[in-house]
């Protein structure tokens, strides 16, 4: 065999699979149909593992969960027409949260495009506003280069979903496979990685001179892999840290400098830290209105430094004093070096000592004492006023979130999860999502997976399946509500068939709880269509799908009776069951998610 010989032709579908293998793909999620039948045929000859979803939307959420748990690209196969349109919510979810997903849809033959052929949908146009880029492959020669480009675009710069629409005749056409040069040459696409040195210097000076700095980390810090840089920078300069919903875990919840999650439904300590800050270092966040509340009243006294890889996010929602376009980890490292060279914030702000890892206990104690006495921490190791805001402490400080059965359930769950090593939590959307984000401790990035931007109910279960495929050894727990769970529960079949031992904690309040809460608080208790019935019987449903199921009624919860003990027993059962299992916990419909910011109000206006 001569090396220079032309490669033997294969069909487009085989070339696609070959390209995926060359890109390191080992896992895809999807559903076959007539227009991607060749791709599924080629899959039989490939080493790539496939998970057959029961609905294309769920297939995208699985790929999304896989991508969020690992940082690798999640790959989806779907057929044309309804198969393609079913992916839309999944793609929008990934787009809003900047998740690298590549969706490969079948399309009718090129000659039939535009004729309203059977199962034809113009999916590239339909998904224009919710994809980073998309391809309609009309020439067999474009296929392989487009796949490589799609992966490059999905993962580089600000990550996001990319769609490849592959007509059936192109999948059947002969293609000579040649691996393209990598990375692809795209003259119009050059993400900025290194931050501007002058701006970094300006940021370092602001931080060095600050009295009440706060570091706000968002989802971009997770995609950039900036966790350890964040921790080092925060520790060296004694910066209290708050993290957004999408960044949960990028800074350890157990760290004494952690102040929780801010926002409209935020932790009081986190919101107070932002509102009182004199310098705000924001990293990889788009300042969503769920984080800032009313923009004018957000961090009113702070000079704002904003690091983001997407220049369009800078100045979009919030005025910024020092904009830095670049990769979060790269810019944070440069900023840390600048501050190190200047002796760090503590040195410049006049504090006597330097905060090091070994001082954690002292720092934590000082902070707690400061709070208990209603005065600022006076330990010499910290700068003036930095630690006035109490550290985040879900297990003992959760009283800020009120006392009710649902919260009690999270407290019990949190205690049990601490006994497990590798836990991945996924959530659906609603009250349970926000309770979970405030009350469950997560110490590592990519271990709390939730739909933040789009707020997609039905995300939790398929995302859990994707995460479990990615991390077979992890304990994957989906915290859901009865409204959300019924939006993708058909994937219980996928879990059973694939042997994916995910756990579902279903907080069943027989309602669309967060909407109901708004009706209660702002629409004079007119509960229009938010009450769900006690149907289905979730234990019977679990059994029907080959799962284990249990139910526990906490509707009349009272800490005095045996409910606490039964709750702990059942949660233990859930976490320790070998296969997929569901625990249906009936909680009072009246449990409210509190505190919350008045609609239209600033972060300081809590009701």
């Amino acid at each position: 065999m001569q090396a220079s010989r032309k490669p033997a032709p294969m069909n487009g579908a085989a070339a696609l699979l070959h390209a995926l293998e060359d890109l390191g793909v080992t896992q895809v999620f999807g559903l076959p149909g007539v227009q991607n039948i060749e791709v599924y045929d080629a899959l039989l000859a490939s080493d790539i593992h496939h998970v057959l979803a029961r609905h294309e939307q769920a297939a995208v959420h699985m790929a999304d969960g896989y991508a969020r748990a690992t940082g690798r690209v999640g790959v989806v196969l779907a057929t044309s027409g309804p198969g393609a349109t079913n992916t839309v919510t999944g793609i929008a979810t990934a787009y809003m949260d900047s998740v690298p997903v590549v969706v490969i849809t079948g399309q009718v033959a090129t000659a039939s495009i535009g004729t309203d052929a059977f199962q034809e949908a113009d999916i590239t146009t339909i998904t224009l506003p919710i994809t980073k880029h998309s391809y309609l492959i009309k020439e067999p020669g474009e296929l392989v280069p487009s796949v490589f480009e799609a992966f490059y675009l999905a993962t580089s710069g600000r990550p996001g979903p990319v769609l490849i629409d592959l007509p059936g005749d192109v999948a059947r056409a002969p293609v000579r496979y040649r691996r393209p040069a990598s990375p692809p040459q795209l003259p119009s696409y050059k993400p900025t990685i290194k931050g501007n040195a002058r701006q970094i210097k300006a940021a370092a000076e602001l931080i060095a001179g600050s009295a009440r700095p706060v570091l706000l980390a968002g989802g971009g810090a997770v995609s950039s892999g900036a966790s350890s840089e964040l921790i080092t920078l925060a520790e060296q300069n004694t910066l209290p840290v708050v993290t957004t919903l999408l960044a949960k875990g990028v800074f350890p919840a157990s760290h004494p400098l952690f102040r929780g999650q801010p926002g409209v439904y935020g932790a009081p300590g986190a919101n107070a830290a932002l509102q009182e800050a004199d310098v705000l270092l924001a990293v990889g966040t788009r300042f969503s209105e769920r984080v800032t509340a009313e923009a004018e009243g957000f961090a009113p006294n702070a000079r704002i430094i904003h690091i983001d890889i997407d220049p369009a996010e800078i100045g979009k929602n919030i005025r910024v004093d020092v904009p830095i376009v670049g990769d979060a980890a790269t810019v944070l490292a440069a900023l840390r070096e600048r501050l190190e060279a200047a002796g760090g914030r503590a040195a410049l702000s006049g504090a006597t000592g330097e905060y090091a890892a070994g001082d954690e206990a002292v720092l934590s104690e000082a902070a707690v004492n400061g709070i208990a006495q209603g005065e600022a921490a006076e330990n010499g190791a910290v700068g003036d006023g930095v630690l006035d805001v109490p550290p985040h402490n879900p297990s003992s400080g959760a009283d800020a979130f009120g006392e009710n059965a649902t919260k009690h359930c999270f407290a019990a769950l949190g205690a049990l999860l601490r006994e497990h090593d590798d836990v991945i939590i996924t959530t659906d959307v609603g009250q349970h999502q926000l309770w979970a984000s405030h009350l469950l401790d997560v110490d590592e990035p990519r271990r709390f997976i939730t739909s933040g931007g789009l707020g997609t109910m039905g995300f939790g279960l398929p995302a859990a399946l994707g995460a479990q495929v990615a991390c077979p050894e992890a304990l994957v727990l989906c915290v859901s509500g009865d409204g959300s769970f019924q939006m993708n529960l058909q994937e219980m079949a996928t879990a059973a068939v694939q042997g994916l031992p995910v756990k579902v904690l279903l907080l069943n309040n027989h309602s669309h709880g967060l909407v109901r809460q708004w009706q209660e608080l702002f629409l004079e208790q007119r509960y229009s269509h938010t009450l769900l019935s006690d149907t289905p019987d979730y234990v019977a449903l679990a059994r029907a799908y080959g799962w284990e199921g249990r139910t526990l009624d906490l509707a009349d919860w009272d800490s005095g009776d045996g409910a606490s003990r039964r709750l702990t027993e059942d949660l233990c059962w859930l976490l320790e069951t070998e296969g997929p299992a569901l625990l249906d916990v009936v909680v009072p419909t009246s449990d409210l998610l509190e505190p919350m910011v008045r609609p239209g109000g600033s972060l300081s206006e809590v009701i």
Binding site: L128, P129, P187, S188, P311, A312
Partner: protein, 160 residues
């Protein structure tokens, strides 16, 4: 509402115009005029568009356009440092009596008669938006049957 002229270099490929115009519409801009054709480099097209917006900052639209993979360059052109032209065709009701008058008028306005029918005359004119509006007003007493206008074309003055 302020009017802005953007000159956008894009890949000369199917679907690119939809990406550009779709994004502008989505972000709250109204497109007043649009002209597209390939440039001296056949791989690239130039989109010249005039847009007005209520309160979405233009800077944000430019940043969002830059994020499109097929967009290479965006320049905002101001009246002071650019030249611009539009093309218009006016079909005017004209019997034998009106013809000489209209042909004279066209000449004075540096427009050309490009078609003469039994009872119509078609006049071609190139100029700025205001010049063409002026001509249209002059022609209106003769009863304009149909008009077609190009979008604005524009280039910055001087060397590249």
């Amino acid at each position: 509402m302020a009017e802005h002229t953007l000159s956008i270099l894009v890949d000369n490929r199917p679907g690119v115009l939809t990406r550009v115009t779709g994004l502008i519409a989505r972000r709250g801009y109204n497109i007043e005029s649009l002209a597209v054709d390939r440039t001296e480099d056949p791989r690239l097209s130039r989109v010249t568009l005039v847009a007005t917006a209520e309160d979405v900052p233009l800077e944000q639209i430019k940043k969002q356009l830059h994020k499109l993979i097929n967009v290479h360059k965006i320049v905002e052109l101001s009246a002071a440092d650019s030249v611009d032209r539009e093309l218009a065709l006016f079909k005017v009701r004209a019997g034998t009596a009106e013809r000489p008058e209209l042909i004279k008028l066209a000449g004075v306005c540096k427009a050309q008669v490009i078609d003469v029918g039994s009872d119509t005359l078609t006049i071609e004119a190139t100029g700025t938006h205001d010049q063409l509006a002026q001509l249209e007003e002059l022609l209106s007493p003769y009863s304009i049957v149909e008009t077609a206008r190009s979008g604005k074309l524009a280039l910055p003055r001087g060397r590249r």
